[in-house]
């Protein structure tokens, strides 16, 4: 299975771009989409989910244009939007049977699958309660269940872990890893650690452009030997913040424990620092900051 995106742009009124000249090639596995708010992640996902049309460009799924033949994708698609609702008067079982019927699944087989999904997503005890009485996390799990109804081959998940408690998040991540083998999973999240844990590939999006698309290990190499920790006094903190990309800071009795990234070719000589292993969050912040400074990605 493969998705090919070439020269994709989405233009809104007032000559504003949600996406601009976007290229991406995807094969089976999990792609983590990260970027700041308004970067274009959801726009990209909605276009891939066939509910929004691009202004320019070509997107093919297994060689077939998804704009011209959207149902070709829809038949194998499981889509979880970022901000979704559920019919509140239906119970979990009724809602999933309704969604299954819309997706073209009826009969005993789908009922068994729904039961199993509810069990695995820990909703079996509330299966007969109206969804309107559910907590946010429970509704999110119902959303995930509807994604998985038809055993989809393409999963598009926009912020799927929102509202899930830590335990549910871990379970969900594990499940995604398990099912990703023979499928394409595109996942966006503001929680970079979610992406870091499960994504094979990472795409960093900023202002509608693709800054970086690579395997996670390659992206991490951009911050190899460039992430350090040090201790700063309160007085030093402000000026330091202006100079370096701080990815984490923690207040201590004697000042601040700071995690920061050096720019390319930069060396730290004026103070003792401790080298640490760079994370995806470090790489992401560095890429975004570079883009903001216009060092690498001119408009």
């Amino acid at each position: 299975m493969e998705i090919s995106i070439k020269g994709l742009s989405k233009k809104y009124k007032g000559n504003k771009y949600g996406l601009k000249n976007f290229d991406l090639e995807l094969k089976n596995g999990i792609l983590g989409l990260i970027g700041p708010n308004g970067a274009g992640k959801s726009t990209l996902m909605r276009i891939l989910a066939t509910i929004s049309k691009p202004s320019e460009g070509l997107i093919t799924f297994n060689g077939i244009d998804i704009v011209k033949s959207p149902d070709n994708v829809r038949k194998v698609l499981g889509y979880l939007p970022q901000d979704f609702g559920i019919y509140p008067n239906l119970t979990a079982v009724e809602f999933l049977i309704y969604m299954a019927a819309i997706k073209g699944y009826t009969g005993k087989g789908i009922k068994m699958r729904i039961e199993a999904l509810l069990e695995e997503l820990n909703l079996i005890d509330v299966r007969d309660r109206p969804i309107g009485t559910y907590s946010g996390g429970m509704k999110q799990r119902i959303g995930i269940a509807q994604v998985l109804l038809g055993d989809p081959k393409l999963l598009i998940l926009d912020e799927p872990t929102v509202g899930l408690d830590p335990e549910e998040r871990v379970r969900f991540r594990n499940m995604l890893m398990e099912l990703s083998g023979e499928r394409i999973v595109i996942l966006s999240s503001h929680i970079v650690s979610d992406i870091e844990t499960i994504a094979n590939d990472v795409a960093i999006v900023y202002q509608g452009r693709l800054l970086e698309h690579n395997s996670q290990s390659t992206v991490l190499k951009t911050v190899e030997n460039q992430v350090y920790e040090t201790i700063l006094t309160n007085e030093e903190f402000d000026s330091f913040r202006m100079q370096y990309t701080i990815s984490n800071s923690m207040r201590k009795n004697d000042g601040w424990a700071v995690r920061f990234t050096l720019n390319d070719g930069e060396k730290m000589t004026e103070r003792p620092v401790q080298p640490v292993t760079g994370t995806l969050e470090d790489a992401y912040l560095r890429a975004i900051l570079s883009a903001k400074r216009g060092e690498k990605y001119e408009n």
Binding site: L90, G104, Y105
Partner: protein
Amino acid sequence: MKINYAIGSIFHIAKADFLQRVRSYYFLIALGVCVFIMYTFIPPLDAGYKILSLGNYRGFYNSAWIGTMVAMCAPFYGLICFYLVNNSVQRDIDTGVGQIISTTRISKLQYLFGKLISNFTVLMIIVLLMAIMTVAMFLFRGETKHVEFGKLLLPLVIFTVPTMFIIAALALFFDSLSGLSRGFINIAFFLLWILMLSTSSAIDVFGFNSGMTELKRLVYTMHSDWNGGYVVGIGYIGSSNELKVFTLESIILSSSILLNRIFWMAVSFGLVLSGSLVFNRFDTSKIKVRKQRTRRFTGEKRTPVYNNSIISRIKYHDIPVAKARFSYFSLIMVEIKLMLRGKSTLWLIISSGLFIASVFTPMNFAYKIALPLLWFFQILNVSQLGTREITHRCHEYIFSTAYPLTRQLPATLAAASVVMLLLAMPVGLRVLLSGNLYSVYAISVGALFIPALAIASGILTGSSKLFEVIFTIMVYGILNNVPFFDFIGAIEKSGEMGMAHYILAITSGLIILAFSGRKRQITYI
């Protein structure tokens, strides 16, 4: 300081609410409907129908008569105005803004007062448009070219402006009664509205009876041969050539009319004040949640997955995979379930009562009263059909399923039509047994027309209100023997006119509109 804060708060509540309303697409449609109504309510002399007719007399189209005609009919479009402004509090609940407002210092009364000002201001824009249309229609259809602005527009000030204030206050009062469903409010107001319009009613809320009494007195004084008959609202009179002409020289005004208007405005304001006592200030914990249904399992008890401290693993590959097998029948069945789910016991009792009435009552009552009312009580089931995906924010994942246009939308239409047909079954069988095939045809067309209207108007306007208003007016029309609104073939005159054929043609147009609108929604969410 405190007063400044109160005034400022009220002003900003009113301003925000007003801007939110007038910037909506629905408001534009409401203005369009108003223009259409004004055009219809001042008919040409040879139109075959009258809005205000006086038995063997008709009014001469001068300034006083046209102004009076528009003012006397104000209560009729008052229903539309109610539906236009009846969700100001509910919208703050839906958007979550209410939760923020409730944490500020603003009092319940200040909040409701701000909403009242907004409601009234919105309706005043409608009145302003009516005034412009009144002048325009006078120039277009008047029998004299001598415009007397005072006589033309003062009736609007005396009758319509207070009516709009009462409507604004009533809408807010209902809206402030936390816990009442919107459906219940709509139906309750409709029934109240019928009661208030009743000419025999002593409760002359709209000033309609006192106005008509004064008008009748004037006619009788001037024309002793007047037969005493009159119709307000769309009345089919055939040719008006045989009618004598009555010339109204001055506007209808008396101290009792003025007192009536002031009294009911005060009463309605009092209702808003009392509403502030029961308004829950967005405390959702006070809203009753539908009682949890408990269903007994027949199978073995399942053990929750989280039953130990170690995070268990979701075994995706152990979940049985279902084969794709699409079935329209299954989809229609689940659509019916979705339509009827979560309805109140009161709705069930009323619907059952009307259904039973349509079986056992005399045919005339069953067909002309019980069936239209039975269908009317489905208004909330049906009105959501074109909007529910977006209202409940399910549209993105529903529209991204395969073939949404040829599977889900037809199934929704079919499901609602099946429900309407099932409800009409007793009347349908009775007319079939009496050999009245036209009525069977008309009822079947009606059963398709109502969902088609709901879906098309919902998709095109993004709101269920337009359908609710049109459907309510049409039901009211049937109850009042107006053949133009008869979508079930219950009125003899409508049969002669072949209304069912027109309704079928309109239904076809609505279905085309619904599909093209949905196609656009799917492509450009």
